[in-house]
Amino acid sequence: MRLDLISPLLILLVGAVLTLLVGIFLPRDKQRWNAGLALLVLGAAGVAALTLRGTHALIFDGSFVVDEATVWTQLMLFATAAASILLAIPVFRNDAREGEFYSLLLFTVIGTVVLAGAADMMEIVLGVLLSSIGGYVLVAYRRSDPLALEAVLKYYLVGALTNMALIFGFALLYGLSGSTQLGTMGEQLAPGSTLLLSIAVVLVLVGIGFKAGFVPAHFWMPDALQAASTPVAALLSVAPKLAALLALAHVMEALPLARIDWPLVLAIIAAVTMSWGNLAAWRQENLQRLLAYSSISQSGYMLLALVALPDSSLALPALLFYFAAYLAANFGAFAVVGALGKPNICDGAGLARRHPLLALSMAVSLLSLMGLPPLAGFVGKFLLFTVAFEAHYEWLAILAALNSVLSLYYYLRVIAPMYLQPPAYAGKPEPWAVIVAAVSALASLLLGLGVYLFLDFPAT
C-alpha cells in the first residue's frame, strides 16, 4: 500500500478534521484563523499533489487512479477551494458557525478528489456522496434563510434521486460483469443484453450528470446557486463538475465501444445541455442564477471532449485545459458577484466607472467563458472544437459554436450595463473578492497566452 500516492487526500482529511477541532475550541472572535488553516492545508495538499506528477498508478485494489489527469484535476480542485475560501472570509466573518465552514468545505473537496480519481464504482458512489453531503450543508449554511433552505431541499431531492439512479446503474453494470472495478467491468461485460447495458449507462449518466450539472439532472443548479452564498455557489459550480466529468471519462472509457455507442449518447446530452443552459440564461436577472445556467451550458461544452475520447489523443488534455479555463473564468465572474454582494444584473450598472478593475475582471471572465480570443476560454473551445472534428462530430462542434453566439447575448447583458450605464453601485467591495477577481481574470488572460505550458504533458 503506497500511502504517498494518496498523500494529498490524507493531508486534506487530517486538515479537515483539524479544522473542525480548531473550529470547536477556538473562541468566536478568533475563528477566522480557520480560513488560514484551511488555506494552509490546501497548499500542503497541492504541494503533495505536485510531487505526484508523472506517476501513473492504479492503487487500492484498482479503485483509485493517480495519473497526470487526476493530479492536474486535484490541483485545480485545490485552487477552486482556496479561491472560494478567500471569497468566504468576508461573507462568513462573525457567522455563528464560521470555523466549521472551512472544515466542511475541505470535506466537500475531499469528496471531489475521491470522485476525480475514482476507478471503481464504489469509489465513484462514495465521491459523489461525500461531495454532495458537504454541498447540501454549504448551500444552506445560513439556516435562517428560507430561500437557501428551499434550494437545498430541491438540491437534496434531486441529489437523492439521482444518487439512486447512479448506484442502480452501477448495480446493473456489476450484475452484467461481476466486477465493480471499471477496467475489469469493461472487459468482463456479459455478451448480449444491450438493452440492459443501455439502461445502466443512462442511469449512470443521470447520476453523474447531477454532479456535473448536465441535462437531465441539472435542475438543482439554478436554485442552489442562486440561493447559496457566493463562495459556495462558486465552489459548487466548479469543483463537482470537474471531478464528475473526469469520473465520467473513466467510466466511459471502460465501456467497450463495440457494445454501446456511448460517444453518440454523450453527444446528444452535450447538445441538449449547452442549448438548454444558454437559452435559459437569456432571461435571468439574478447574476448567480445566470451564472448557474451558464455553468450548465459549460458542462455541455466539456462533454465535447468526452465525446472525442476514443478518437482523439488530444481529448483529455483539451478537457483538462478547459477545466482550467473554466475555473479561472468562473471564479472571476463569481468574485465580482461576491464583491457586489449577490446582485442582479442592474446592480452592476456603471461599475466600470466606480471600480474599473472589477468591471474589467467581469468582462474578461465572461468573454473567456464565451470563448473570445486570446483568453483561456477561447483556447479551450478551440481545443474542444478540434477534438470534436477529429472524432467526426462536426455537427456538435457547429452546434457548440452557435451556442457560443447564444451565450454572447446574455454575457453582454451583464457586461454592457457595467460600461454603458450611470453608476448604481455605491458600496465598497471586499478586498479579498477584488483580489480573487483580478487574479482570476489575469489567469484567464495568461492561460490563453501561455497555453503551450499546459499542452506539454503527454496525453494519458
Binding site: 478534521v17 473542525l20 477541532l21 470547536i24 466549521e100
Partner: protein, 117 residues
C-alpha cells in the same frame, strides 16, 4: 432443515403463541365496543387533532445522529472478524475512523444537539 429454516421456526413459535393467546382472549370475551370504553385514557378530553399528525421534530435530531453512528457499527462487524489477522493495521485504521466519529460526537455535543430544548 437449514439453519435459517430453524430461525423461521423459532420466530413462528413466538408468533403462534401470541396469536393463540390473542385468539383465546377473543374467543372467551365479547369485544367491548360501547362508547365510554372507546374513549382514550383521560376521558373527557377528546382529541382535537389526530395524534398521528403530530410532528416530533425533536426526535429527528437523535435519529439523525444515530443514523450516522449506526453506520460505524456496520463497518465494525467485518472489522472485528479480521481484526486478529490484520493486527495493528486494523487497529490503526479503525482508530482513525473512530477518532473522526468521536470528534463528530464532540461537535454535536458542543452544538447542543443532545440537549432537550
Amino acid at each position: 432443515m437449514s439453519a435459517y429454516q430453524q430461525v423461521l421456526l423459532f420466530a413462528l413459535a413466538g408468533l403462534l403463541t401470541a396469536l393463540v393467546l390473542l385468539g383465546i382472549g377473543r374467543y372467551v370475551n365479547a369485544r367491548l365496543n360501547t362508547e365510554p370504553a372507546r374513549r382514550p385514557f383521560e376521558s373527557g378530553e377528546a382529541p382535537q387533532v389526530h395524534a398521528w399528525s403530530r410532528f416530533h421534530v425533536r426526535f429527528l435530531n437523535y435519529a439523525l445522529i444515530f443514523l450516522l453512528f449506526d453506520m460505524e457499527m456496520v463497518f465494525m462487524y467485518p472489522w472485528a472478524v479480521v481484526f486478529l489477522d490484520e493486527g495493528w493495521k486494523a487497529f490503526t485504521e479503525m482508530g482513525m475512523f473512530i477518532t473522526i466519529l468521536v470528534l463528530g460526537i464532540l461537535y454535536a455535543w458542543r452544538e447542543r444537539a443532545f440537549d432537550w430544548d
